[in-house]
C-alpha cells in the first residue's frame, strides 16, 4: 500500500460529516451568562468601549457612533438584537470591531470578552433552522461544544442586514 492510499484510508476513518473539516478559530464573549462566539476571521479588534455618541431616531439595537483612532464606527447592541434585553455598560463591557469587508465599519457591545478557542469539526453542530426570516435567532449559525459549556456561534454577516431591516 502506498503512502497516499494510507492517507485516504485514514481520512475515511475520521468522522468528517461537516463540510469544513478544518478546525476554526472562534473569538468568544459573554452576553449575560451565556457564552457566544464569532469566527476570528471576521474580527478586526477588541477594544475598551470609547465614549458613545447616540444617533437620534435610531432603532433600539443601535447604541450610537464611536470614534476609534479617527475612524467612525457604528456601535450595535448584539444583546438587544438577540432578544436578551438592552446591554448595561460595566467595567467588563468591551467593543468587538468587525472587518471592514463586511460593509459599513461597525462593532458590537459584549458583556465580557473571552478567549480565542479552536473548535474541531466534530465539536460543531449546525443551528436548527427557523423558517421565519425576521427571527433574530437567524443570527446564530451553530453550536460549539466546549468541555465546560456550550458556545453559540453568531453569523457576523447577518448583523448589518438585520439592523437595516429594523430601520425600514
Amino acid at each position: 500500500m502506498t503512502k497516499s492510499q494510507q492517507l485516504i484510508e485514514q481520512s475515511k476513518a475520521m468522522p468528517s460529516d461537516e463540510p469544513t473539516a478544518r478546525p476554526i478559530h472562534v473569538c468568544t464573549f459573554r452576553l449575560g451568562d451565556a457564552l457566544y462566539g464569532v469566527e476570528i476571521a471576521a474580527v478586526k479588534e477588541v477594544n475598551i468601549l470609547p465614549p458613545l455618541t447616540p444617533i437620534p431616531h435610531a432603532p433600539k439595537s443601535v447604541c450610537g457612533y464611536v470614534n476609534l483612532r479617527g475612524q467612525i464606527h457604528l456601535c450595535l447592541d448584539l444583546k438587544q438584537m438577540l432578544g436578551l434585553g438592552p446591554s448595561t455598560i460595566t467595567a467588563q463591557t468591551r467593543l468587538v470591531v468587525f472587518q471592514a469587508s463586511l460593509g459599513e465599519p461597525f462593532g458590537v457591545l459584549v458583556d465580557q470578552i473571552g478567549d480565542i478557542v479552536q473548535l474541531q469539526a466534530n465539536q460543531l453542530e449546525p443551528q436548527p433552522t427557523v423558517s421565519d426570516p425576521a427571527d433574530p435567532s437567524q443570527l446564530l449559525t451553530g453550536v460549539g461544544k466546549l468541555e465546560a459549556e456550550l458556545l453559540l456561534l453568531v453569523n457576523v454577516r447577518k448583523i448589518l442586514p438585520l439592523v437595516e431591516q429594523a430601520t425600514r
Binding site: 478559530h25 476570528i40 476571521a41 479588534e45 477588541v46 477594544n47
Partner: protein, 755 residues
C-alpha cells in the same frame, strides 16, 4: 513608509508588485504586437481600397472631359447630344465613385487627407457646374447653324436676286434702247435711273451677305453692333430704293419689281435669322469655357487627388515606422521588466521577512526573561507596525511592573517598620500598665491601712463619746466620787491622745495615697501620649495601604490593557494564518503574564484590605485604651480630691480632739474645784460631748470616704487590667501586620528590578 504598514498590507504589496509585473509584461507584449499587426493589416487594406477608388475616379473624370470636348466639337445636333449624354453619364459615375471614396476617407483617412479630398470635391463640383453649362451651349450649336443658314438660304436668295436683277436690267436696257430709238428722253432717263437703282440694290444685298459672314466669325458685342448697324442701313436704303423704283417703273417692269421686293424681304428675314444665331455664338463660348474655367477646375481636382495620394503614401510610411518602433519597444520591454522586477521583488520580500522575524525573536527572549522574574531586560524597538506596537506595550508592562514591584517593596518595608514600632509601643504600654497596676495595688494597700486606722479612730471616738457621756453622768455624781472622775478624766485624756495619734497616722496615710495618686496621674498621661503616638502610626499605616491600593489599581488597568492587546494580537496572528503562529505564541505568553499581573494585584489588594482592617481594629483598641486611661486619670483625680477632703476633715477632727483634750484637761483641772459648781462642769461636759460628736461624725465621714476610695481603686484596677488587655491586642495586631509585611516582601522578592 514601509514600517508604518500592517503586515498583511506588506505581504499584499509584494504579491501585488509581482502580479502587476507579470500581468503588465504579458499584456503589454500581447497588446503591442497585436496592435502592430492589426494596424498594418487595416492600413494596407484601406490604402488599397482608396487607391483603387482614386484610379477609377481619374478614369471617369477623363472620360467625362473627353466626351465634353467631343460634344463641343461635333457639328451635328445629334452627335453633340450623344456626346453630351455620355459626358453627363460619366459625371454621374464620378459622383458614385466619389461617395464610395468619401465613405472610405471618413472611416480611415487622417485630417490632412480629408482636407485634400475636400479640396478635390470643391474643385470637381465647380467643374461639374461649368460642364453642365458647356454641354448646354454645345448642344445648341448656333454658330454652325447660322453658317449653314447663310450658306444655304442667304446665298440662294442672293443668286436669285441677282438673276431677277439681271432680267430687269435686260428689260430696262430694252426699254431704254427703245426710248432712245424713239427719241423719247423722259422714259430713257427713267430707265437709266432704274438701272442704276437696281445695280445699287444688288450691291447692297451682296454687301449685307458679306457683312453677315463677318458677323458670324466675330465674337464681341462691339463688332456685332457695328456690323448690324451697317446691315440695317443697307436694308433701309434697299427698301427706299425699291419703293422709289416702283413709283417710276413701267408697266412691264412693275410685276418684276414686286417679285424682287418680296424676295428681298425674304432675304432680309433670312439675314435676321442668321444674325440672331450668330449673336448667340455658342460654339465659341463653350469652347472658351471648356479650355479656361472648366479646365482649371478639373486640373485643380486632379491636383488635389495627386496631393491626396502623396499624403496617403506619406501616412503609410509613418504608420510603418510607428509599427516598427512599437515592435522594438515591446521587445525591449519584455526583456527589461523581468530583469529589473524579479530582483526588486526578491529584495523587498527578504527585507520584509527580516523586519518581521527579528523583533519577534527579541520579544520572545525578553518575555522569557520577564517570566523568570528578571524585570531589567527591555526589548529593542524600532518598528512602527503591529510587532512594534506589541513590543512597546510589552515594554510599558515590564517597566510598570518593575515600578510597581519597587513601590510594593518600599511600602512593605514601611509597613514592617510601622509594625515593629507599634510592637515597641504596645510593649511599652504593657510595661506602663503593669507599673500602674503595681501603683494601684500600693494605693490599695495604703487605703486598706487607712481604713484600719480610721476604724481604730472611729472606735476611739466612740469610746471617747461614751467616756464623755460617762463624764456627763459622772458629773452628776460629782459629789459621789471625785477620784473616780479624776480617773475617768485621765482615761479620757489618754483616749483622746490615742485618737489624736491615730488621726495623725491617718493623715500621713492620706498624704501617701495622694502622692501615689499623683504618680498614677503622671503614668496615665504618659500612657495617653503613647496611645496617641500609636494612633498616628496607625493612620500613616492606613494611608500607606491606600497608596498601595492606588498602585494595584494601576497594575490592574495595565493588566487589562495588556490582556486586550494580547487578544487583538492573537486575532491578527490567527488571521495571518501559518505566518502568524510564532506571533500567536508570544501573544499568548503576554496574555498569561497580564493575567498573572492581575492576579498578583488582586492578591495585594486582599492583603492590603486585611492590613487596613487590622489597622482599623488596632486604632479602635488604642482608642479604647485611651478611653480607659482617661477613666483612670479621672478616678485618680477623684482619689486625690477625696484624699484632700479627708485630710481636711482629719485636720478638723484633730483640732476638735485637741479642743476636747483641752476640755478634758479643763475638766481634770476643774475637778479639784468641784466646788466651783456643777453648772460649770455640766457646761464643759456638754461642750466635750459636742466635740466628741463632731469627731465621731468626722470619723464616719472619713470611713465613707475611705470606702469610696477603695471602690475607686477597684475601678482603677479593673481599668488597668482592661488596658493591659488592649495593649495585648495591639501587640497581636502589630504582629499580624509584621507577618503581612513579610509576605508582601516575599511576594515582590521574586522580581529583580533596576532600583
Amino acid at each position: 513608509m514601509l514600517h508604518r504598514l500592517r503586515m498583511r498590507t506588506k505581504m499584499g504589496i509584494i504579491i501585488a508588485i509581482l502580479t502587476v509585473a507579470a500581468v503588465t509584461i504579458s499584456f503589454t507584449g500581447y497588446y503591442q504586437l497585436r496592435q502592430i499587426s492589426l494596424r498594418l493589416n487595416s492600413l494596407s487594406l484601406n490604402i488599397a481600397k482608396i487607391e483603387r477608388a482614386i484610379i477609377l475616379l481619374r478614369g471617369q473624370m477623363n472620360a467625362s472631359q473627353h466626351n465634353e470636348r467631343n460634344a463641343i466639337l461635333s457639328p451635328g445636333d445629334a452627335d453633340s447630344q450623344k456626346y453630351a449624354d455620355l459626358a453627363t453619364a460619366a459625371s454621374l459615375e464620378t459622383n458614385k465613385t466619389r461617395s464610395v471614396l468619401k465613405d472610405l476617407m471618413q472611416q480611415y483617412a487622417t485630417d490632412e487627407e480629408k482636407k485634400f479630398f475636400e479640396e478635390y470635391e470643391r474643385n470637381w463640383d465647380r467643374y461639374l457646374k461649368l460642364q453642365q453649362e458647356i454641354l448646354r451651349l454645345a448642344v445648341s450649336n448656333t454658330s454652325l447653324k447660322s453658317e449653314e443658314l447663310l450658306r444655304k438660304q442667304s446665298y440662294q436668295l442672293l443668286s436669285e436676286l441677282r438673276a431677277s436683277t439681271r432680267e430687269m436690267l435686260r428689260t430696262l436696257e430694252t426699254e431704254s434702247g427703245e426710248a432712245f430709238k424713239a427719241n423719247k428722253l423722259e422714259p430713257y432717263a427713267q430707265a437709266q435711273r432704274n438701272t442704276r437703282m437696281l445695280e445699287r440694290l444688288l450691291l447692297l444685298a451682296t454687301d449685307s451677305t458679306a457683312t453677315v459672314g463677318i458677323h458670324i466669325v466675330s465674337h464681341t458685342n462691339e463688332e456685332w453692333d457695328g456690323l448690324e448697324i451697317r446691315i440695317n442701313s443697307n436694308e433701309n436704303e434697299a427698301d427706299f430704293l425699291i419703293d422709289e423704283a416702283l413709283k417710276q417703273a413701267s408697266q412691264q417692269l412693275k410685276p418684276m419689281l414686286i417679285e424682287f421686293k418680296n424676295k428681298l424681304r425674304l432675304f432680309h428675314a433670312t439675314n435676321k435669322q442668321v444674325l440672331q444665331y450668330s449673336r448667340q455664338d455658342t460654339n465659341y463660348k463653350s469652347t472658351i469655357m471648356s479650355i479656361t474655367d472648366a479646365q482649371i477646375a478639373a486640373q485643380a481636382a486632379m491636383d488635389a487627388l495627386d496631393s491626396l495620394q502623396k499624403e496617403m503614401s506619406r501616412h503609410y510610411d509613418e504608420e510603418l515606422a510607428a509599427a516598427t518602433s512599437a515592435a522594438l519597444f515591446s521587445r525591449y520591454f519584455l526583456a527589461i521588466v523581468p530583469i529589473i522586477g524579479i530582483p526588486v521583488g526578491v529584495l523587498i520580500a527578504g527585507l520584509l521577512t527580516r523586519a518581521i522575524t527579528r523583533p519577534l525573536l527579541n520579544g520572545v527572549e525578553v518575555s522569557k526573561a520577564i517570566a523568570n522574574g528578571d524585570l531589567t531586560k527591555r526589548p529593542h524597538i524600532s518598528q512602527l507596525d503591529e510587532v512594534g506596537d506589541l513590543l512597546r506595550a510589552f515594554d510599558t508592562v515590564a517597566s510598570e511592573l518593575s515600578k510597581v514591584v519597587g513601590n510594593v517593596r518600599t511600602y512593605s518595608d514601611t509597613i514592617a517598620n510601622s509594625a515593629s514600632e507599634l510592637t515597641n509601643i504596645s510593649q511599652q504600654l504593657l510595661a506602663q500598665s503593669e507599673e500602674m497596676s503595681k501603683q494601684a495595688n500600693q494605693v490599695s494597700a495604703g487605703a486598706e491601712q487607712m481604713s484600719t486606722n480610721v476604724s481604730t479612730m472611729a472606735a476611739a471616738a466612740e469610746q471617747m463619746s461614751m467616756n464623755v457621756v460617762s463624764i456627763s453622768t459622772a458629773s452628776e455624781e460629782i459629789s459621789v466620787n471625785v477620784s473616780t472622775i479624776s480617773n475617768s478624766a485621765r482615761e479620757t485624756s489618754h483616749n483622746v491622745s490615742a485618737l489624736t495619734t491615730a488621726l495623725k497616722e491617718s493623715i500621713r496615710d492620706f498624704d501617701e495615697v495622694t502622692r501615689q495618686a499623683n504618680e498614677g496621674s503622671h503614668v496615665t498621661s504618659q500612657a495617653m501620649a503613647l496611645s496617641q503616638q500609636a494612633t498616628s502610626r496607625m493612620n500613616s499605616l492606613g494611608k500607606a495601604a491606600t497608596e498601595i491600593n492606588k498602585v494595584t489599581d494601576v497594575i490592574k488597568m495595565i493588566a487589562l490593557q495588556t490582556n486586550l492587546l494580547a487578544l487583538n494580537a492573537t486575532i491578527e496572528a490567527t488571521a495571518a494564518g501559518d505566518a502568524g503562529k510564532g506571533f500567536a505564541v508570544v501573544a499568548h505568553e503576554i496574555k498569561e503574564l497580564a493575567n498573572q499581573s492581575a492576579r498578583a494585584a488582586e492578591d495585594i489588594t486582599t492583603k492590603i484590605e486585611d492590613v487596613q482592617a487590622n489597622t482599623r481594629e488596632a486604632i479602635g483598641v488604642i482608642q479604647k485604651v485611651a478611653d480607659i486611661i482617661t477613666q483612670i486619670d479621672h478616678s485618680v483625680t477623684n482619689i486625690a480630691q477625696m484624699m484632700d477632703r479627708q485630710s481636711r476633715a482629719a485636720s478638723v477632727s484633730s483640732n476638735n480632739l485637741n479642743e476636747a483634750s483641752r476640755g478634758v484637761e479643763n475638766i481634770a483641772n476643774s475637778i479639784t474645784e468641784v466646788a466651783k459648781g456643777a453648772t460649770d462642769m455640766a457646761r464643759n461636759a456638754s461642750e466635750a460631748a459636742k466635740g466628741a460628736n463632731d469627731v465621731s461624725r468626722n470619723a464616719i465621714e472619713a470611713a465613707r470616704a475611705v470606702r469610696e476610695i477603695t471602690s475607686n481603686i477597684h475601678v482603677v484596677g479593673q481599668a488597668t487590667r482592661d488596658n493591659a488587655h488592649g495593649a495585648q491586642k495591639v501587640n497581636t495586631a502589630a504582629h499580624e501586620l509584621a507577618t503581612i509585611a513579610c509576605k508582601l516582601q516575599q511576594l515582590v522578592k521574586h522580581y529583580k528590578t533596576e532600583a
